[in-house]
Symmetry: C2
């Protein structure tokens, strides 16, 4: 902490005019936010909160004013790096130094049917296990958010799978299997938890600067040497335009590199559900099929994305001379069965029941289903992929409030991709739910958003642009 007293009002007065804060001011802000959060937690428990020194105090209104001023004026590269770093170290952090390994992770800004994490972790872990130098994936994931799915919700459909490892067990699992897939611990990056709740409440969620600090503080708390970011663009992406997605990607790359982590961001197309299935268990099933060697045509985009992202991770970890060679290696690891072997290893380390992978299709038990068919002959022209994501959520795959259970079996199967020629009556989506009554609304949503046209629209390429320290100004 700085030697002289910093007052929140002085931070606001600078930031409301877009002036650059000092490192001490940014650190003081995060410090007071964490103390504010601890006080709120104590009050919520009915405990008498610790008396704070005047210089440690910040009010709810002052946090909100600072967030809105940042929303309006943004942050310089340095300020963003300081904010991210102060948040990263605001609670416990993972320390990978004793593992003697190259830690690398992947983060996605969120998509529909995007289960690439489930393939990438075993692919990279297989390379880490079998080849020197060591490489490991300390993957801390999230749950379903808005119209997008969450890795934890998918993994937890595997009977017994424990996503609440904690950092000590995570280190052990990484040592054993070279990949751990878990949820955030309560003590990891507490500043983000407080600021995120406040942003949600004050209309400051969409700031690319605050999004970067939130994502990167959590990823960097994994003690990463390399990070690959999958930044979605298109109708299913959170960011509304290509330019805004690219700006966010640039901020994240510069913030990662300033923190000493090799960082690449791939801008990837999210105009339709990724792969064959969108839901929870059905996404695990799709990955198990792929790892067992069955490559369904609808999974082609998923496999391509997963091997390209893995390729960058393998390249950062010194397993290949180029990212392209890394993608080739990833595909070989997948095809050879090494990724599946690694997957079984990882699931077992998380206490998951691997016996269900023998016949994954049999584990899919929706009580109700309905097929959306082409209303006329023509080419599948497009859809609002965010609307498709919401349909998946409303079938039961998502939750309406935190803590609610999600359905393992709800979701959709895609039968066609954009550009596919359809005859009238051909299936486009099969909808699954555990409750017949939940089918009608998502069916209408999907029916309304799917467009069929007489002329073929060429789909966007999967990878639109790649940003690294060589292309981003730091």
């Amino acid at each position: 902490m700085p030697g002289h007293a910093i007052h929140p009002i002085d931070i606001i007065r600078k930031k409301r005019h877009g002036e650059e804060l000092s490192q001490a001011e940014v650190e003081h802000f995060v410090h007071t936010v964490v103390l504010y959060g601890e006080q709120k937690i104590a009050e919520g428990r009915g405990e008498h909160p610790t008396l704070l020194a005047a210089t440690d105090k910040i009010s709810e209104a002052q946090i909100a004013a600072i967030l809105m001023a940042i929303f309006q004026h943004g942050l310089s590269h340095r300020e963003l790096a300081w904010l991210t770093n102060a948040m990263r170290y605001s609670g416990e952090t993972f320390d990978a130094s004793s593992l003697n390994t190259f830690t690398v992770d992947k983060h996605s800004t969120g998509g529909v049917g995007d289960k690439s994490s489930l393939l990438i972790a075993p692919i990279v872990a297989a390379a880490g296990l079998e080849m020197s130098p060591s490489i490991s994936v300390p993957m801390i994931s999230g749950r379903s958010l808005g119209h997008t799915g969450g890795t934890l919700d998918k993994l937890e459909t595997i009977p017994g799978f424990d996503t609440q490892l904690g950092l000590v067990r995570m280190a052990e699992v990484l040592r054993e299997t070279h990949a751990a897939m878990m949820g955030q611990t309560p003590k990891l990056v507490p500043a983000d938890r407080i600021l995120y709740a406040m942003r949600d409440h004050t209309g400051t969620v969409e700031s690319p600067f605050l999004i970067t600090a939130s994502i990167m503080s959590k990823k960097l708390a994994e003690d990463l040497k390399g990070l690959v970011l999958d930044v979605k663009v298109g109708s299913g992406a959170f960011m509304p335009t290509y330019e805004k997605s690219k700006f966010l990607a640039e901020l994240m790359v510069s913030t990662g590199e300033l923190a000493g982590t090799r960082t690449a961001a791939l801008l990837t197309t999210m105009d339709e559900p990724m792969g064959r299935f969108s839901g929870n268990w059905i996404e695990v099933w799709e990955c198990v099929d792929i790892m067992q060697g069955r490559r369904h045509p609808m999974s082609a985009d998923l496999i391509e994305l997963s091997t390209i992202l893995s390729g960058w991770m393998l390249y950062f970890g010194g397993k290949s001379a180029t990212p392209e060679a890394g993608a080739q290696l990833a595909d070989e690891i997948l095809a050879s069965g090494a990724a599946y072997k690694s997957w079984l290893h990882i699931v077992a380390a998380h206490k998951g029941d691997t016996s269900i992978f023998t016949n994954p299709a049999a584990f899919h038990k929706p009580k109700a289903s309905r097929v959306l068919k082409a209303s006329r002959t023509g080419y599948l022209a497009g859809m609002d992929c965010t609307e498709v994501g919401w349909a998946v959520q409303r079938l039961g795959a998502g939750r309406t409030k935190p803590g609610d259970p999600v359905s393992a079996h709800a979701g959709i199967e895609s039968h066609a991709k954009i550009g596919t020629h359809l005859k009238i009556g051909d299936p486009i989506f099969t909808l699954f739910s555990e409750d017949e009554a939940l089918l009608a609304e998502p069916y209408r949503m999907l029916e309304a958003t799917v467009a069929i046209s007489d002329t073929r629209t060429e789909p966007q390429p999967l990878i639109r642009e790649i940003l690294t320290r060589d292309t981003v100004s730091l």
Copy 2:
């Protein structure tokens, strides 16, 4: 209240991008702010606050976020009028309809030694009492703020003077004397009290839009038919530049006129203390001297300002064909002794002891004084008038926190105005205090800020610019 539910987050989402809010949204914001304030007051008293409906709730963080978004993007003329109006009617208001009079008031943005209210109220009241049609001044004033003095603090140096009339007694006093001079009631414009405290806390005080809503809501709650604004410019003004003062003046004129109140704003120079004395009782003394017919040379600027402002009020009230003729009339009312007669009447109606006006100089009893003399021969070139104001406050005329008493006798006497030729050793200021120990720091402050130069600087004209509905876009 609007029929459909409005949520604070929707208001924030619009305002953070500078979109115009609807009237219903602005009114809902003020409605929820008042309920929020009532809850806080109840909590502060240890009472169980009323349970609010979800649609009536706003959090401290959300109020702060909205204030910061307004600070950044401002408000349209319509939004500002809606906000001012919603604040104006957020609590009790004065209703002048039964008085059958033209209500007119003056408001100043705050200066040093500016006691024009003490002259204007009796001048206009004298015209209201003695001439048809009726005209009255329902003047609700404030206390010393920052480096500036407050009318209430000055009036309360008159033994017995009651500034806490309340609205019922105010109507009676207006009927009797045609001028009432009182403090705000606890129930008048409660939205401003809450928002002002929040602005102070969140670095959003200086927004000209929020300043306008704050000032105009309180003035319009006096049920005014006419309003004259004295907007200070120069080194003693709150607004840092001429352009910002003018912008604020334009906003206030357009807001007043949109509310149906004839409004004029005079941009007036505040580069040095106004008149002869700056303090509390000594300012009353100066005014009594003037009203009794003694016009000290140092009071010339004060008399000019007071008659010009009164002139506009008399013109709005139909007492003169032009503002200039109104100023002439005001000067005659002052010179004839009619204003002094009115003053005695007004003070008596407020239970003030008028016997002290027989020898006002004798009532001035500072325990300590010191004279700042010219350090060399030359022309008085200028000073930081804000610094002079702070020196006056620190002599004891101001308070360091709300509720503290102020010294009746502390302050300064000006012996020279900008442009005056001084010989070495000539007095510039006499400092008064009730505590010898309080002289040293203000003396040093004044000594440091007063500049003497070999060439004469022409002082700025007192009236810089006049804004009315004819010069301001509404």
